[in-house]
Symmetry: C2
Subunit: 201 residues, 2 copies
Amino acid sequence: MYKVFGSSHSGNSYKLRLLLSQLQIPHAWQEVDILQGATRTPEFLAMNPNGKVPLLQVEPGRYLPESNAILCYLAEGTPLWPADRWGRADTLHWMFFEQYSHEPYIAVARFVMKFLPADHPRRAEVPNLHERGYKALGVMEQHLSAHPFFAGDAYSIADIALFAYTHVAGDGGFELGRYPAVAAWIGRVAAQPRFIPLEYH
Amino acid sequence: MYKVFGSSHSGNSYKLRLLLSQLQIPHAWQEVDILQGATRTPEFLAMNPNGKVPLLQVEPGRYLPESNAILCYLAEGTPLWPADRWGRADTLHWMFFEQYSHEPYIAVARFVMKFLPADHPRRAEVPNLHERGYKALGVMEQHLSAHPFFAGDAYSIADIALFAYTHVAGDGGFELGRYPAVAAWIGRVAAQPRFIPLEYH
């Protein structure tokens, strides 16, 4: 059985929780307390030298890091990871967009505003995070104004990857009301079978 | 015939040049002057709303952004993109590592030190870029101390993705001499058939 090392507060870990729920894949969940340095222990670094969650234990001694690589691995052979060459490439395009142009701003703004004290010096990063994050939301809005989902006009792991931090962007001070197509897409994702929200406990 | 919109100075664009050379794929190259704002014109944004190169024109009106997604698309069906499920997932793991934990530090340090004036205010970012970039090089060194290449112990698009900015990390002030396994891997990549360097003109 798969074992997932993850944090229940992390959007990157939530991507896996959502996919595992939707595909009804049995797994064990090992909660990792990032804020207490649990990804920096020798034991954890032996599993993932980059010191990050989520991490998938495929079998004892075989580990897969990187949330979006794990999504691809778990969704292989299902309708959530397109079988055709163009569909896979377009799915990956949005997943790389998420990790490079979206997560470093939208997820980090949420971290700073939700998990750090109000007088923390990292609050100074917020205006730049908002500028870059709104740019990513603008790219998403433009796409979603003409398409119901991100890749191949059907729900896929590209939507899961982008949904994770987008639907809680308000935690980081983003005003999603400015993006009606994004808001409508959030509703479509939340209406998928076996959907679970990020904050469920 | 494929058309690539790219910048000859960019490591992300170089990934495509290297793969296209190694797979001997005919293509047209359209040079895009990033520093002069050529990715911000209405014409370019109509092709890629995220305003970045490289961009692959698969056919007129059909465009694929994100360097690593393009590598996957072009390498489909070749030995450079593993055919088995685990091999693909492990390749993607290193490609997402490259875009999230490596490129934002190693490529950006190179940009600041090579392309901006010595008194530019962004020089203040260099110490942080070095700290994070050296962490990525440490993860690579650990892996390469036990494996000849990144995924499946054979040369793949994961190596191309990581090679692009690693082999010119010295431009950004990184001392690669501290990482003998990385240096040896650079030599192995440069010895591959139909290899071409980044700066060739």
